[in-house]
Symmetry: C2
Subunit: 348 residues, 2 copies
C-alpha cells in the first residue's frame, strides 16, 4: 500500500524494484521465453506492485511502428458505413492496434486525408471506405509507404492496392434479372446521382448491371425509369412518386440501397399500391431492417467486409501477401415478400 506516484512507473522503476536489468523486464513484458521462472515472477510482482503499464508511445518509437490503423470514411451516418466500421472495430479490438477515424464530409477533406494520412510516421495501415480514388489519387495511393486496403472502393487502373469489394455490376444484374424472371418488363431503377463529387461508384455499377440484364432480356432501357437524387429514404420516396404517376409506370423497382427501397415502399403505400401485387420492390445491402420489412434484396456482407479488410491489412504487415489482393465478396439474392410475379404478364 503506497501513495499513488505522481508520474506513472517506468520500466526502470520496475527493474530497480525487482532487482533485475532493464532488458529482463522488457523480456518479461514481451513474453520472451528466455527468462527463468524465478526472475519472471519477481518481475511480475514488481509490475503489479507499481501498477506498471508499458508506455505505448515509447514502445512505438522504439519499434518503429505506430500500432495504429486509420479508417477514412465518408458520412458515417449511413447504415452501410457504420456496419462496415463495426466490423473493423470488432476485428481490431482483439489486436494491439488502435483505430483512428477520419470522417469525410467535403471533397477538400477527402483530398487532404488521402494525401496526408497514409504515411509511415503516422499509421501502420489505412482503410479507405466507399471512397473510390479518382485518376489523380491512384499514383499517390500506389506510392504510399504503408499498406492500404480499399473497402467498397475501386478504380479500373488499380493493380497494386488491396481491395475488398462487391461485384456491384453483378449484384445489379442479379437484382434486375430476378424481376425479369418474375415477368416484369417495366422496371425502374432508383439511385444516388451516378456522378458525384465524392466519386461514389456503387450506384453507377449497379446501374450497369441493371442495363445488362435489361438488354440481355431484349428490354430497351427507358430513361424515364431511372430516378437519381441525393441518397436517402425521403429523396427516393419523392423520386419514385413522380415515376409512378406516369401513365406507363413501372411494375417493379430496383432501389440501389435498402434505405432507398424503404422510401419506395412508403411511396407505394401512399399511392395505394399494394406491394408486391401492384409493385415489386427489391433493395440492396440487406441492412438490419430489411428482414423486418420482408424486403427482397441483394445481400452484401457489410460487417464482414470490415473484418476482412482488417485481416488483409494485418496479413500484409507480416509480408504474408505475395501481391495485392482483390477480394470480391459474394452477393446473395434474398427473396422475401416484396417481389412477386407480374400476374397476367408472364410470357415464359
Amino acid at each position: 500500500m503506497e501513495a499513488v506516484p505522481n508520474k506513472p512507473a517506468t520500466i526502470r522503476d520496475v527493474a530497480r524494484l525487482a532487482e533485475v536489468g532493464l532488458g529482463t523486464v522488457s523480456r518479461v513484458i514481451n513474453d520472451s521465453p528466455q527468462v527463468s521462472k524465478a526472475t519472471r515472477s519477481r518481475v511480475h510482482k514488481a509490475i503489479s506492485e507499481l501498477n506498471y503499464v508499458p508506455n505505448p508511445t515509447a514502445r512505438r518509437l522504439s519499434l518503429g511502428r505506430t500500432m495504429t490503423i486509420a479508417a477514412i470514411t465518408p458520412f458515417f451516418t449511413r447504415p452501410s458505413i457504420t456496419e462496415r466500421l463495426r466490423g473493423i472495430e470488432n476485428s481490431l479490438a482483439e489486436s494491439e492496434y488502435d483505430l483512428i477515424i477520419f470522417n469525410v464530409e467535403t471533397v477538400a477533406r477527402r483530398d487532404e486525408l488521402i494525401r496526408e494520412v497514409p504515411r509511415r510516421e503516422r499509421v501502420d495501415g489505412v482503410l479507405i471506405l466507399s471512397l473510390s480514388p479518382c485518376d489523380e489519387d491512384v499514383p499517390i495511393l500506389e506510392k504510399a509507404d504503408v499498406p492500404i486496403v480499399l473497402v467498397d472502393a475501386n478504380h479500373p487502373s488499380l493493380t497494386r492496392l488491396n481491395r475488398v469489394i462487391v461485384d456491384d455490376v453483378e449484384g445489379g444484374r442479379v437484382a434486375t434479372q430476378h424481376l425479369i424472371e418474375l415477368g416484369h418488363r417495366r422496371i425502374g431503377y432508383i439511385s444516388d446521382f451516378l456522378d458525384n463529387a465524392f466519386n461514389f461508384t456503387s450506384s453507377r455499377y449497379r446501374f450497369q448491371g441493371y442495363r445488362q440484364a435489361l438488354s440481355g432480356a431484349g428490354i430497351p432501357f427507358r430513361s424515364e425509369y431511372h430516378g437519381q437524387s441525393e441518397h436517402g429514404r425521403y429523396e427516393a420516396e419523392r423520386l419514385v412518386k413522380m415515376m409512378l404517376n406516369n401513365e406507363d409506370r413501372p411494375t417493379a423497382i430496383f432501389a440501389a440501397s435498402d434505405t432507398q427501397a424503404i422510401g419506395v415502399l412508403e411511396a407505394a403505400r401512399d399511392l395505394g399500391l399494394r406491394v408486391p401485387d401492384d409493385l415489386s420492390v427489391i433493395g440492396y445491402d440487406d441492412i438490419e431492417v430489411a428482414e423486418y420489412l420482408g424486403l427482397t434484396t441483394v445481400r452484401q456482407l457489410l460487417f464482414e467486409s470490415g473484418q476482412r479488410a482488417v485481416e488483409i491489412l494485418l496479413e500484409s504487415f507480416e509480408q504474408k501477401l505475395a501481391e495485392p489482393l482483390c477480394e470480391v465478396l459474394p452477393t446473395e439474392l434474398i427473396i422475401r415478400k416484396t417481389t412477386t410475379s407480374r400476374s397476367g404478364y408472364l410470357e415464359f
Copy 2:
C-alpha cells in the same frame, strides 16, 4: 529530384541539409519566434526538399503527451450516437489531436474499457458517450489521471467529472406537458427498457419527467400505458400496436426517441389511425428525418454536444477549468404536424 529514400527523413537529415543545428529545425517546425528569417527559409527549403514530416510518435514521447483522444461509445449504429460522434470528429479535425474510437457492444467490454483506457500513457483525454457509470465505476473514473468528459451520461454522486448532458427529466416533462396542454389525458410512453445492463439512463429520466407532468396535471399513471422493449423502430411498432389494441387506448404517445416515434407512426398507419387526428405522437432527439416526417419532438443538440465535449476537454488540458463543468444543453420543443388537440376532449 531525388530517389525516394527508403526511410523517411528525420530532423537530423533536415539539419544537415540546411546546415543548421537540430534545435533550430525543431524551432522552425514549432513556429518558435526566435529564428532569423534567413535561417527559417533555409530550413523550410530543406524540409520541402526532403519531403520531411515530423514523426508524431517521437514528438509525443518527447512532449509526454499522446496527442490522442479516446471516445468510448455504445453501438454506433444509432443516429443519436453517430451525430454526437460527428460533432466530436468535426471539432477534433481542426486540432492536432487524433481520435481513437472504442465501440462497446458488451458489458464486459464496457468495464474493460472504462478501466484501461483512461490512462495518461494511452490518451490525453477521454470522451464517454451515453454510458452512465455505475456505482463501482465512479471512483475509478474520478481517480483517473486524464481529463474525462461524459456526454449524455451522468451519475448522482459525480462531482469531479466534466459532463455535457441534457436534462432528460425536464425534456420528458415538456413533451408530456405539451400533450396535456393539447387536452390529452390518456398518454402512452414508449421507451427502451428502463433497466438495462449498460445503464443507459435516458429512457429512465424521460420517464420521470413523464410521470411528473402527469401527476402535476392530476392524471394518474397507468402502467398499461408504458411500453418498454429493446431500442428500435420495429420493436416500438410492436409495442404500440399492443397498446393501441386496448379498449381504453391512449390518444397520444410520447416516444423516448425519434426512431421509436417512427415505429409509432407506422403502427398508427397500419391500424388505420390518422396522425394527429386520432393519435398524437411526439418523439425525442430531432434527428434528421424528423423534419421530413413533420414529427413533433424534443430537440436536443446532438452534434453540438460532441463539439462542446471536445471544447471542454481541450480547455481542461490547458488547466483553464477551475473545477469540473457540468453543462446542461437546452432542449427545445419542436411542434410540427404529429400532435394536435384532442378534439371534443378539451377541458380548458
